[in-house]
Every structure is written in structure tokens, then in C-alpha cells.
Symmetry: C2
Subunit: 216 residues, 2 copies
């Protein structure tokens, strides 16, 4: 199992000529380091043995409604989105997951129950994935990862709290401007209807907001 896994990773390295094998772990390690989590050689080896590298094409799904989320994914390149489909068939974007972010359905992942969300790729996307079993081993063998994810979830909680506040108390225009200011890099890479969906408005409404902004 482990052997074939390594082999597969190796094969993917070569298949993906854009990707530098030596640098594959840099982004994750940097992300850890930014939260003051520094791994020694042994810990790094454990991490490397328990994560799996995967590539997804644009429009390919990482997770589909009804399936159980088997992995959490750290995005190395590209951008994914998590969305929900309502009873009228409309999509509602909950998150964008560009490089250096984690994506997945935590609830499904932890509880082993079918997810209500879909996650697909808005660009060709590369990720490092960890399964629940492996993550449990990781927490066991590298306890400092508890601190890492504690900080990660703390920040996610703060961000989401702010987002709920924005939806509750600010008009669509204000939310759009906040979005532009907060995620300028994402805004340029994704379709307006995705942004509209994230903001909780229709593409038509967003178009009108943009028109108003252009006037000024």
C-alpha cells in the first residue's frame, strides 16, 4: 500500500512537468511555519508519508453531495469551491479554496456521514490530501499539529463570524465592496456569477451593482 502510494506520487511528479518535486512540500511547511509550527526531520517524514498528492482538472469534483468526505485537502495550486444546491436547484457558494487554503467538508469528514456539499475545481488544481485515519495518526505522532489546526480553525471561525455579520447587517453593495477589498486576487480569477453566489445575490443583481460602481 505505502509502496504503491509512493510510486504513484512519483509517477505523478513526472507526469506533471510544471511541478517541481523538490518544492512539493514547501507551501504546506511555510503555512505551518507562519503559525509557528516547525517540524523536525522525523516529523516531516511522518507528514510526508501520510499525505497524498493529487491533481484535479478544471470542473472536476473533489467531493459530491451524498458521498462521504474521505479527505481534507490543502490546495497547492489552482482554486476550488464548496457549494450547496437548494431545493430549487440553485447553487450557493460557501467557500473558495485557492492555493494555501484547506478545503473539505469537515462535518462529513469527522462524522463519516454523507455530505450536503459539492466541491469542484474552477481551475486545474493540485492538492495534498490527508484521510481521517492518517490525520488521527498524525495528531498522535505529531501533537503540535493540534496547535496548528487550533489556530487554523480559530482564524476560520473569526472570518466566518465576520461574514455572518456582513450578511446580517450590510447591503449587497457594501458586501461586494468588502469582498473586492478582501480578496482582490481571487476576484480576478473567478466568474462573476460565482462571486454573486458567494455574496448571496443573483448574477443579475451583481451586474447592476457593478454598473453602479463603474458610473462613479
Amino acid at each position: 500500500m505505502k509502496a504503491s502510494l509512493s510510486y504513484q506520487c512519483l509517477r505523478i511528479y513526472f507526469a506533471n512537468y510544471h511541478y517541481n518535486p523538490d518544492g512539493m512540500w514547501d507551501l504546506l511547511l511555510q503555512n505551518l511555519a507562519e503559525r509557528n509550527i516547525l517540524l523536525d526531520t522525523e516529523e516531516l517524514a511522518i507528514v510526508q508519508s501520510l499525505f497524498t498528492y493529487r491533481k484535479f482538472k478544471r470542473n472536476q469534483y473533489l467531493l459530491q453531495e451524498g458521498d462521504v468526505a474521505r479527505h481534507e485537502s490543502f490546495v497547492l495550486r489552482g482554486i476550488a469551491r464548496t457549494y450547496e444546491v437548494d431545493e430549487k436547484g440553485k447553487e450557493h457558494v460557501l467557500f473558495f479554496g485557492p492555493e494555501d487554503w484547506w478545503i473539505g467538508d469537515l462535518y462529513s469528514f469527522l462524522s463519516n456521514t454523507p455530505t450536503r456539499y459539492n466541491i469542484d475545481c474552477l481551475e486545474d488544481t493540485e492538492v495534498l490530501q490527508v484521510s481521517k485515519e492518517n490525520l488521527d495518526v498524525l495528531y498522535e505522532k505529531v501533537p503540535k499539529l493540534n496547535k496548528y489546526f487550533r489556530i487554523l480553525f480559530q482564524n476560520a471561525f473569526i472570518t466566518l463570524t465576520h461574514r455572518v455579520g456582513a450578511i446580517l447587517s450590510r447591503a449587497a453593495m457594501e458586501r461586494y465592496q468588502e469582498f473586492l477589498q478582501k480578496y482582490p486576487h481571487i476576484e480576478q480569477r473567478i466568474a462573476n456569477r460565482q462571486i454573486a453566489s458567494f455574496l448571496g445575490i443573483t448574477p443579475q443583481s451583481l451586474s447592476r451593482l457593478r454598473k453602479q460602481l463603474a458610473k462613479k
Copy 2:
């Protein structure tokens, strides 16, 4: 109906009026235990030395906009609310904090910056508070608390994600019914206008929803 509710509150009030010092830590320890965090005698002593017990009256503030959040609070009894005031002076409830929950403004707490939120008590409320300095010491001396808060924030993140999904994709009526189902114990203790604010609608709209429900 109203009478029995008042009576119940009264009963609870008297039952807890003379707080039992020996039992003060039970709720927190139980909360830890539910997440498989068990403290030995030494660790318990450390925790007890770094938390502070405080009582607040109904309508009293734990935190006011513009101040820096110096503590995170674990609610032992009563119920608090976190709300934001928009530029028109309207209040928007982000969270209710009944017993067994944590409340505070994490962002202000961690970054040492003035908060945009207010936290006040909807009932007489008792809490255990920890300051940032003490929490840092705690993480240092009782590393397993990283795991505790990691799990806590994980769950908070899941709950908030669900809430954003609900706001984006479901009508007011549906959100209200979800709220009733999810927090039946809270619903009976707080004013409708607080619930309306939490749901992101006006008290008038909520009143109309309730009328519709009653018809059926």
C-alpha cells in the same frame, strides 16, 4: 404557559443562588471530558489558578464596542448575546451564549484590537474567564488544551458554515423553523426580537411568520 415559565426560571434562580464553590468547576470539566480531555490533579490546579469566576447581572455588559476583549468566557449559568450595531443603529445578534458555551470576541482577544461587537447578558449570568496571558500559560503548561480548543473551534466552524448556508439558500420561514428545532431550550428563554435579529429579519417579519405557523 407564561406562568410556568417564570416559575421555572425562579426555581432555577434559587437553586443556584448560593453557588457551591466545590461544584464551580464541574461544568467546565465535563465540557472537557466530552471532548476526551481529562485533567490530572496537577493540571486541574493549574486551570483553577488561571481562570477567574465572575457574575453579571441581566443587561450588564461583558464587552462593549471599542474596548479590547481581555477575556474569553465560559458560561456556567444564564445567557449572553454577542451583537453588532450597524450604521443605522440596528442591532444584529451573532451568537447566543447559554451555559456550557464559550463567548467572547476572539479577534479582539487575539489581536489586542478594539472590538466591533457588544456582549451583554439576557439573564443574570455567571462565567469562568481566562485572560490572554493566562491562556498562553495554559497552552504551555497543559498542551492538551490545544486539542480541546481545536475540537471546539472545529465544531464552531461547522455550525457557522451551516448557518451561512442557511442564510444564503433558505427563506426566512425555513430558517426560523430550523432555529426552533435546533435550539428549543434557548427559544423559550429569550425575546422574539432577539431571535429575529439572530435570523436576520425584523421583529415584524418574525411576528408574521409566527402567525402563519399558528394557522397550520
